[in-house]
Symmetry: C2
C-alpha cells in the first residue's frame, strides 16, 4: 500500500509490499526509489522515527535499513544533519537485448551432429547416481588441469581397444571440447616456434581459423580419392592437421600408403601429425580403421571427442599426446580455465568403464548405417548427383555437375524449404584455382535429426534436388568429365 | 597359447588369446607383433591359408585381419608377391610420466575454498533427475556461448534479490569459472584499447597475472582500513579490478564513501569497474552488503561464482555486464571454447530457482560463522596476533608484529606440521617500498576443512603460532606501532 510522506522531509509514495521481513521491504523500497530517481541525490530522508510511524514498523527496522543502504553507498549519514541520498550515477538504460539464437531448423541436415534425441538419459542418470554416491569430497574441489584420472584411465583403455590408440592415462589431456583442445594445442605449438601448418583442402574452416588465430600460416593440402595428398608435405611444414579415418567433408579415408608417407614425413622432418578422429567410431562396412596415431605415437596428437557419440553439450574431448607435449598443453589448459568441470568427466568415466558407452555407440552405429543407406537410395534416383566417401561417419558429401545452378542457389533453395545444411565452397581454402576446380556440393549430415524426423528431412531435401535435376535436365545430359574432382572416384 | 610359425615365411610366436572374436584376436596379435618389433619391416607374412591352419581359424578370418591391417598401414599387400610388414617408425618410448598432483594437505587452511564435504549431493542429484526428465533433445546439442537461458534467468533473479545486482538475463554471460571469465573480459578490454588496469595491493596474484597476460599494465592501489584507495585512481586507468564486499586478502569492505568515489571516477573518466564478488554471500554480522554494481550498472562488470558456495569443480561463474560488453565477451567465449557444458548449467538453474541454492548457502553461512568465531577465539589468546577484516567470507588475515620471525619461516613451520595456507607477501604487488611496510601475515581459510577436520587444523595452526609467540616473547613485548599497517585498523 502506498504511503504518503507529506509532512516528512521528502514527499514520497513508498510502496511497501505486504508480508516478508519488514526491514528488507523498507530497504528494497528505498533502493528502488533512489535508483529510479524518485529520491534524488541530496534529498533529506525522513527521520527514522518519522518513517517508522508512517510505515507502521519498528524504529529499529528503519534504522537498520538506513544503515544498510549507507553501507551500500546509497545514503549518506552525517551526524547532526540527518540522512541524505548520496550522489548516484544516472539510472541504467534499458538492458541491451542480445540477438536471439535462431530456432532449431525444421530439417536439420547439418554435418557433425549426432542424434541427440537418442542421448542415453537413463544411463547418464544411473552413472551420475553412482558417481555422486561414491564421490569423495575432493571431487567437488579444485580439479585436475590434465583431466580427472578416472576419465583418463577409462579413455586410455577405450581408445586402445576401440581405436587402436597407443597411449596411457598420463599422456591424455581432457579438454572442454575439441575446439578448445585444438586451440590450446595450436597455441602451444606456435609458442614453441611452429609457424606453418598444413590443412586439408577442402577441410573444416572453423578449425582452420583456430589454427590461424594461434599464429600459424596455413598451407592447403589437396584431397583426392586417397585422402589428403600428404606426399606434398615439405620439411617447412611444422604440423599437419587432418582427418585420416574419414576426411571432412569428402569422407574418404587416408590410403594406407599415404599413412606410411605421412609417418615417414614426420619421422624425417620432426613434423607433428594432428589426427582429428572426430567420428572414427562410425564405420559401416567393416571394423573402424584404427587410429593413425599408433603408427607414430611420438609424432602424433590424437584428438577424440564425445560430441559425436553422446552430444556436444557435454564439452568433453581428449588429446592423446606425445610425451613432450603433455606438460605444455596442461599448462595452457590451466592458463585458459584452470581445469574442466569434474562431474561430467566422472560420469563419462563411469559410462566408458561400464561399457554403457560402447553399447550406446553400437546402437547408434546401426541407426546411422540405415540412415546413410536411405540417403544413398535417394541419391541413386538422381543420376546427376554423386555421393562421396566411405560408408562411415555422420555425413555424406553430394556433388552436382557443373551445369547445375551454382552451390549458393542450391543452399538458398534448401534454406527456403527449412533445410539446414552446408555447402562445399566454404570449406575450400581460399586459393582461387582450387575453387574453380570444385563442383557444387552439399554436405548432408544424417546424424542430427531424430528417428522420426529423418525421413521428412530427406523428403524435403530431395524435393529440392529433384526440381533442380528436372529443370537442369541433369539426368539426361551426360556428366562432363572435366568437372569431376579427384575424390569423386572414392568408394561411395 | 603361443603358436610356432616355423615352416612359414616368418618365424614367430603369436600369442592368440582364447575366447573373443577370432578375427580381432588375430589382428591384435599381429599389430602387437609389428609394434614391438617381433615382425620387422619387410618381413613376408605367412600365406593366409598357412596362418589359418597354424592358428586353427578359418582362412577368411586371416584374410580379413590382413586386409584390416593393410588398411591401417601396418601391412603392404602386393599382388603376386604376398603380404609384407610395412615400414614403420621406431616403437614409441615408454610414456613419460607426468608429475603426480600432490596429495590433499593434512590440514587445509587455504583461503577461497568452501567445505566441499558439505556439497549438497542429494539436492544436486534431485535437480539432475528433474533436468534430465524435462530436457528436450536440444539440451544435449550445441550450447549457447552466452550460457543457458534457464541459468541466466535464474541468476538474474538470484543476483537481484541476494546481491542487489541490477541486471537481466541478456546481460549475463556464463563462464567456466571466474578465472576464465576474467581472462575473457581482460582480453576483450585489451583488444578494445584498454592498457592500464588498477589492482588491489595486496590482492589476488593469480588474477593480477591473468590481467597482465591479457596485455594490461597493472598499477597497484594500496588497501587501507576503508578498502582499496580508489581516490588514487587517475583518468589514465582504463579499468579497476577489485573486491568491494570483502577485500582479498585483508577482508575489509570498501567504505561507502569510497564506493561513491569509485563510481564518480568511472562516470567522469569512462573507466570500467570490475567487481569480483567472490564470497559476497558470506556476511556474519549483518545482511550482506549489496553489490557495488547496482550503483553504476553501465560502468561495472559484476563477477560471481558457484565455486565458493558449491564447489570449484562445477566450473560455473557468471559476469553481469554493461550492455556494450555483452557481445564482445560472448564472442570471446565462443572463440575460446564455443560454450560451456550444458547439464551443469541446467542443474544449477534448477537449484537456484527451487531455492535449494539459498538454503544451502544459509546453512553454510551458519557453519562458517561459527568457524570464524572459533578462529578468533584462538587468535585472542595470542595478543601479538591481529585478525583483520569484517566478519565475512571464508578466510581471515592474521598478521604478526615485525619482531616475529619472517613470514617465510612461519609458512615453513606450518608446512612442516601439514598445514596448507598462504602468506601475505606473495599477494603484494612488486614495489619494494610497499613490501617493506607490510607485516608478516597468514591468510587463514576456514572454509576448506570438513566439520570434523576444522578443530584439529586450528589446533595444529595454533600449536605452531603459540610456539612462535612464546619464543619471540610476542605476548609480553609491547606491539610496535610503526609496523601496524593501515588495514590493521579495520573492524576485526
Amino acid at each position: 500500500m502506498p504511503k504518503d510522506w507529506s509532512g516528512s522531509r521528502v514527499d514520497l509514495h513508498l510502496a511497501l509490499p505486504t508480508g516478508g521481513a519488514r526491514r528488507f521491504a523498507v530497504e528494497s523500497a528505498l533502493r528502488e526509489a533512489i535508483r529510479d530517481g524518485r529520491l534524488a541525490a541530496g534529498a533529506l530522508l525522513p527521520s527514522t522515527r518519522g518513517l517508522a510511524q508512517e510505515l507502521g514498523v519498528a524504529r529499529g527496522t528503519v534504522t537498520a535499513a538506513y544503515d544498510q543502504l549507507a553501507e551500500e553507498g546509497y545514503l549518506t549519514a552525517r551526524p547532526g544533519s540527518g540522512t541524505t541520498v548520496a550522489e548516484l550515477p544516472p539510472s541504467p538504460t534499458a538492458p541491451g537485448s542480445t540477438a536471439p539464437r535462431g530456432p532449431a531448423p525444421r530439417h536439420d541436415l547439418r554435418a557433425g551432429l549426432p542424434d541427440v534425441s537418442a542421448f542415453p538419459v537413463r544411463a547418464w542418470l544411473a552413472s551420475t547416481r553412482r558417481v555422486l554416491a561414491a564421490a569423495r569430497p575432493e571431487a567437488f574441489g579444485a580439479g585436475d588441469p590434465q583431466g580427472r584420472l578416472e576419465l583418463r584411465r577409462a579413455l586410455a583403455d577405450y581408445l586402445g581397444r576401440a581405436r587402436g590408440v597407443t597411449t596411457s592415462p598420463d599422456r591424455i589431456v581432457v579438454t572442454s571440447g575439441y575446439y578448445q583442445g585444438l586451440s590450446l594445442l595450436a597455441g602451444v605449438l606456435a609458442a614453441g616456434g611452429a609457424g606453418t601448418g598444413a590443412v586439408e583442402d577442402p577441410g573444416h574452416n572453423a578449425f582452420r581459423d583456430v589454427v590461424r588465430r594461434a599464429g600459424f600460416e596455413t598451407v592447403p593440402l589437396p584431397v583426392d580419392a586417397d585422402g589428403a595428398c600428404v606426399d606434398l608435405l615439405t620439411p617447412q611444414v611444422d604440423a599437419v592437421f587432418l582427418t585420416p579415418a574419414h576426411q571432412y567433408p569428402t569422407g574418404v579415408p587416408l590410403h594406407p600408403r599415404r599413412r606410411r608417407t605421412l609417418t615417414a614425413w614426420a619421422r624425417s622432418t620432426g613434423g607433428l601429425i594432428v589426427e582429428d578422429d572426430y567420428d572414427g567410431e562410425y564405420r559401416y562396412d567393416r571394423q573402424p580403421v584404427g587410429a593413425l596415431q599408433a603408427m607414430a605415437p611420438d609424432a602424433t596428437v590424437y584428438c577424440g571427442t564425445a560430441s559425436k557419440t553422446l552430444g556436444p553439450a557435454l564439452r568433453l574431448a581428449w588429446l592423446a599426446l606425445p610425451p613432450h607435449l603433455v606438460e605444455p598443453v596442461v599448462r595452457a589448459k590451466f592458463d585458459a580455465d584452470l581445469y574442466s568441470e569434474t562431474l561430467g568427466q566422472l560420469v563419462l568415466a563411469d559410462l566408458v568403464s561400464t561399457h554403457a558407452y560402447d553399447r550406446h555407440i553400437r546402437a547408434a552405429r546401426l541407426r546411422y548405417r540405415r540412415r546413410r543407406e536411405l540417403l544413398l537410395d535417394r541419391v541413386a534416383a538422381i543420376p546427376a548427383l554423386t555421393a562421396h566417401g566411405a560408408p562411415a561417419g555422420l555425413h555424406t558429401l553430394l556433388t552436382a555437375p557443373a551445369h547445375w545452378p551454382p552451390e549458393d542457389e542450391l543452399l538458398v533453395a534448401c534454406a527456403h524449404h527449412g533445410i539446414a545444411l552446408r555447402g562445399l565452397a566454404e570449406l575450400n581454402c581460399e586459393s582461387a584455382d582450387h575453387l574453380s576446380k570444385k563442383p557444387p556440393g552439399l554436405i548432408v549430415g544424417f546424424g542430427a535429426p531424430s528417428e522420426h524426423a529423418y525421413a521428412p528431412a530427406l523428403d524435403a531435401l530431395f524435393t529440392v534436388l529433384s526440381s533442380f535435376a528436372a529443370s537442369g535436365a541433369g539426368a539426361t545430359v551426360p556428366r562432363p568429365v572435366s568437372v569431376r574432382h579427384a575424390w569423386q572416384d572414392a568408394r561411395a
